[in-house]
């Protein structure tokens, strides 16, 4: 047989391996020729690579290989696959293998697709009708066993239980081969069961040839007898005989070691026994020591008090216990640094009856205290009278120890102890105890001092509170007592001025006007003084809301125009902002008060007819500046600072000539500073003055107001999800009008014709918001409100008054959110909704477009619904804005821009987590390709084509 060529072992089935005589472990690759879907089986290691390729080429074109079957699990048998992949170069090349092999395939970076064959009854069906059936068994090699069926010859490949011999490998098996095969397997098979399981599976197959991966090819005439013979093999794990002796030796060595260890153990046990005895001795001593420590700890725990006398009594007893002394006295210093006895202790209580231990003036105790030194007195002779009655005999006290108590240079006291024996002289515990004692004493002394201080502080605090209360009471009383007579002055002068009987002379009327005006001035003064004292006491509170300052200023001007027109003084408004609505967070009342004050000052100080006052609003950097400019008398330079002080007008005579309380500017400046704003003045004598209020746009409110802001926001959030609105009004026209305005915004609308009806419907329908008229038959709005607030489940429903009442305070006291006064406009309704319910999710918008006109246009469309708008003329600017911390809720993005196009912008910000909640809307004139559209829709980006219904689309996308 010529092994240099591919050998056809059955029809269209070729052996394409390298033949090495007597090497049974080489791999045996086969090729099944099957047109364009030929199959290469077990192509083998890199050693065989060239041979395999050459032999395959003899039979078919390499490109005709569609399947490569890998069944073995040796690493080097997958190594040639990447090379084969390359030479075959076919996109639909498929590797068929079992799961253990897939790991290797991945290791070699095989790129072809593959599927695993471990599942039962798996088949590979080629489109030419050839079927490969995979027979899997738990035996190590057999998961890869597979069979070809018609129209090819029936061959079992990779049937490794029939191969793998060490010797006498022949290409085709002969009779002799099988005896060796049987012997081999009886030694290597893991178990008879598994082996027979595999054999039975194979027995059922109708096959002509077995082509094992290793071993000789077996023809049909041998197959069934072989299987029958193999079934009876005795199987078992094979251990080579040559290892037997080694094992026996090893066991012997281990047993020797064990014996040695056992002897060593006995030796150790003996040692332990010897040691234990001496340990028990030591233990006894340790236990005694432990008891002492326990006592000592108990003593220390008893020092945890702030009562000095208690500490003194306890400690003198402790010291006697610790030192085995018999008598002790505790001296404590007082403020004058003289010592007095605080506690005495003796085992013989009669000893103190003889008054031996009285207060010691001077003497050794005083010396120990002053010099911070321990004194001993030893061996007092028997003549000494100090003795204790032991019950057996009278024992003389022979040793005395005097210990100063000092905490960090602070002398606290002295302890003196006396004893019959010399145990008091040296005691290892005493030093530690004294340390703890002085600390405890110091704590107690400090505690008393702090206690005293705290009482004093409380007293001061109470007095301050009382003073404050008295001041408030005084102000309230003063206000009341001044208002009462003013009521008559203003009231009667007002009534008389009406000249109902027509009998008053012009001069008398003018005098009455003066009385009335001065009465009103006095009232202003009272109000101003109260305001000022409130501000100075820090008790003025801010109520921050979102305010459209442009319309607020317009309202003020409307209100004040008659006042100026009275004397033909001209009052004009100049809006230099490029917007007609501008929202700022501030306290509307205080803002109004400041502007009114500035304007009425200006009116006061300009001449009739020629007088001109203009109110100018403009943006300067990050401030909004509101200037009140007049052509009045002006203020001298050196007086510019003083005008903001209380009761300081530029000229003392101005009060007489121009009136006013002299408090207006002081109050205005104080209020401005509460708003974090500033008022500045420029002036030229004879030409006029300009007062400018600058409101910061960023961080408008002070930090301490932040909590308040949070509250406002939270309240707004609570009522954000408005779905349905109940309109309560007895006037059908009003109901219809409101319904028309509100249903436009997409709310569900219910209506009720009076309070009773309204209460019924509120309870039944549970609307998210109620609008309420006041003047209604049966049950009016106020009654409705108090009943609603007492109804379970609906008490918290927000209510907006829409009526003839403009009393916000009363509305709030009765529990309404706000009020709108009839007749109302659509704008009024919108403003209230913007204030409490507006689509608050969109606050910051970014418009990115290189055409300024488009930016302006979009700004115009969205400015009512968005708090803050920033513009960028290309993608790069937009990115730098975002990088600087401007995180928009919505981005309007042009696509065709210089520097960085819209698509580039999208690409660069794709992974930016800051923009994950940002809505992006492309506004472009570009005709989008299918690819563009897909890219945009993938990121859920909406597209608006420039020119086509731009306004309505932009507004629509802003909402939804």
């Amino acid at each position: 047989m010529n092994f240099n060529k591919a050998v056809e072992i059955a029809k269209d089935i070729y052996w394409v391996g390298t033949y090495l005589e007597n090497d049974p472990f080489q791999c045996l690759p086969y090729l099944i020729k099957n047109g364009k879907e030929s199959i290469l089986i077990d192509p083998g290691s890199m050693l065989e690579f060239e041979d395999v390729v050459r032999k395959v080429k003899e039979v078919i074109n390499l490109k005709d290989i569609k399947y490569i079957i890998l069944h073995h699990q040796d690493p080097d048998l997958a190594a040639s696959i990447p090379e084969i992949e390359k030479v075959i170069d076919r996109e639909d090349l498929m590797i068929v293998t079992h799961s253990r092999m897939t790991v290797l395939i991945k290791h070699y970076l095989v790129t072809s697709s593959y599927y695993e064959i471990d599942a039962n009854n798996l088949e590979l069906n080629t489109s030419t009708g050839l079927t490969l059936k995979f027979i899997t068994t738990p035996y190590c090699h057999s998961p890869g066993a597979f069979v070809t069926y018609e129209p090819k010859s029936k061959v079992l490949f990779s049937g490794d239980i029939f191969g793998g011999l060490e010797e006498s490998w022949k290409f085709y098996a002969d009779e002799n081969y099988f005896d060796e095969a049987k012997a081999f397997h009886s030694a290597y098979m893991p178990s008879k069961d598994i082996f027979n399981y595999a054999l039975r599976k194979i027995e059922k197959l109708d096959i002509n040839l077995i082509a094992p991966q290793h071993g000789s090819i077996i023809e049909r005439r041998y197959i069934y007898n072989l299987i029958e013979d193999m079934k009876h093999l005795e199987c078992g794990l094979y251990i080579e005989k040559k290892y037997n002796n080694e094992l026996i030796n090893t066991i012997q060595e281990l047993e020797d070691k064990k014996r040695e260890l056992s002897e060593y153990k006995n030796h150790l046990e003996q040692k332990v026994k010897e040691k234990t005895f001496s340990l028990e001795e030591t233990n006894k001593v340790l236990k005694e020591e432990q008891q002492r420590l326990k006592d000592f700890n108990h003593y220390l725990s008893e020092l945890g008090s702030v009562d000095i006398s208690y500490i003194a009594h306890k400690s003198i007893k402790h010291i006697i216990d610790i030192t085995d002394a018999q008598v002790g006295v505790f001296y404590m210093t007082d403020e004058k640094e003289s010592l007095r006895v605080l506690a005495k202790y003796s085992v013989d209580e009669t000893i103190f009856n003889n008054n031996y231990f009285s207060v010691s003036n001077g003497g050794i105790v005083q010396k120990a205290f002053k010099e911070n030194k321990i004194f001993f007195i030893k061996n007092i002779n028997d003549d000494a009278t100090l003795a204790i009655d032991t019950g057996i005999y009278v024992a003389k006290l022979k040793y005395i120890k005097i210990i100063p108590l000092v905490f960090q240079d602070k002398k606290i006291g002295v302890v003196a102890i006396a004893s019959i024996t010399d145990t008091i002289l040296n005691n290892s515990y005493l030093g530690g105890y004294i340390n703890s004692l002085v600390q405890a004493l110091n704590n107690a002394v400090s505690y008393i001092a702090i206690q005293k201080q705290s009482i004093a502080l409380k007293d001061i605090n109470m007095r301050l509170q009382e003073a404050n209360r008295l001041k408030s009471e005084f102000l309230a009383n003063m206000s009341h007592e001044l208002r009462t007579p003013l009521n008559s002055i203003i009231g009667f002068s007002n009534i008389l001025q009406k000249n109902k009987k027509g009998n008053l002379l012009p001069k008398q009327l003018s005098q009455l006007e003066k009385i009335n005006r001065n009465g009103l001035n006095l009232l202003d003064l009272i109000n101003n003084i109260l305001d000022l004292s409130k501000i100075e006491a820090g008790r003025m509170e801010l109520e921050i809301t979102k305010v459209d300052i442009i319309s607020t200023i317009k309202n003020i001007l409307d209100m004040m125009t008659p006042q100026s027109a009275n004397n033909s003084k001209k009052l004009t408004f100049i809006n230099n902002l490029d917007k007609n609505i501008f929202y700022i967070n501030l306290d509307e009342q205080k803002f109004k008060q400041i502007i009114v004050n500035l304007i009425s000052n200006a009116i006061k100080f300009v001449e009739p007819v020629t007088g001109e006052i203009s109110v100018i609003i403009e943006q300067k950097n990050n401030h909004i500046a509101i200037s009140v400019k007049d052509n009045g008398i002006g203020i001298e330079k050196d007086k510019l600072d003083k005008i903001f002080e209380a009761f300081m007008q530029a000229d003392g005579s101005t009060t007489r000539k121009y009136g006013g309380t002299g408090l207006g500017l002081a109050i205005s400046r104080n209020m401005a500073s509460m708003l974090n704003a500033d008022i500045k003045v420029t002036s030229e004598v004879g030409k006029g003055s300009t007062f400018t209020l600058s409101l910061p746009l960023l961080n408008q409110t002070k930090i301490e107001e932040k909590d308040k802001m949070q509250e406002v926001k939270e309240e707004i959030k609570k009522i954000q999800d408005i779905e349905s609105i109940l309109i309560i009004d007895d006037d059908e026209d009003v109901r219809e009008l409101l319904k028309a305005y509100l249903s436009e915004e997409g709310y569900e609308i219910y209506t009720a014709v009076n309070g009773e009806d309204g209460l019924d419907k509120a309870n039944k329908l549970k609307p998210s918001l109620i609008t309420l008229d006041i003047m209604m038959p049966k049950m009016d709005g106020w009654q409705f409100l108090s009943k609603l607030k007492n109804s379970d489940g609906v008490a918290d429903t927000p209510v907006i008054l829409i009526s003839n009442i403009s009393d916000k305070t009363k509305a709030k006291v009765f529990g309404a959110l706000d009020c709108i006064v009839k007749p109302f406009s659509k704008e009024d309704i919108k403003n209230i909704f913007a204030k409490y319910f507006g689509s608050k999710t969109i606050k910051y918008a970014l418009i990115v477009d290189d055409e300024p006109e488009i930016r302006e246009l979009i700004t115009e469309y969205i400015q009512n619904d968005v708090e803050n708008i920033k513009e960028a003329s290309n993608g790069a600017e937009a990115i730098s804005l975002i990088h600087d911390g401007y995180i928009p809720d919505i981005i309007y993005l042009d696509l065709m821009m210089p520097h960085l196009s819209g698509f580039d912008f999208l690409e660069l910000t794709k992974a930016d987590s800051k923009l994950k909640d940002t809505k992006i809307i492309v506004v472009s004139a570009k005709d989008l390709t299918a690819e563009d559209k897909e890219l945009l829709s993938k990121r859920d980006i909406k597209v608006i084509k420039k020119g086509s219904h731009l306004e309505s689309l932009i507004k629509e996308f802003l909402k939804g």
């Binding site: 206000s479 208002r483 003013l486 009521n487 008559s488 009231g491 009534i495 409130k534 003047m775």
Partner: protein, 123 residues
């Protein structure tokens, strides 16, 4: 002509209110709370204007009696007072007054308007 009861101890201020209202309403008055309550029961006025700082029984106590009385509880009561510090208005409305007008009365039209509204509401 609707009847208005004014309870006010300060003679001058009573005269001011009377002067403002006498053309349009029938005014009855009392200079203390106790008589005022009796008068309210007897006269059944359309609106009561009630001062707060009154001798013996102050305005808030008077209001309480009026609102607890079956015959008087539906008569709207206005606090007409020189207690006009910040928060006073809220305080009195919370105590159950139907309206609040501070002294000195600066705008007599507002006074009239408030009375008219209360009278209309009562109907």
């Amino acid at each position: 002509m609707e009847k208005i009861l004014v309870i006010e101890d300060n003679e001058d201020n009573l005269a001011v209110v009377e002067s403002y209202l006498e053309d349009d309403y029938h005014i009855v008055s009392s200079d203390n709370g106790e008589d005022g309550i009796e008068m309210a029961k007897k006269e059944q006025p359309g609106v009561i204007l009630l001062d707060i700082s009154l001798p013996n029984m102050d305005g808030v106590e008077v209001l309480k009696c009026l609102k607890e009385d079956e015959e008087c509880k539906n008569i709207p009561v206005v606090a007409l007072t020189a207690h006009a510090m910040v928060g006073d208005k809220e305080k009195f409305l919370q105590k159950g007054f139907d309206e609040y007008i501070s002294k000195p009365i600066v705008d007599d039209e507002e006074l009239m308007q408030k009375i008219e509204t209360l009278l209309r509401l009562k109907k």
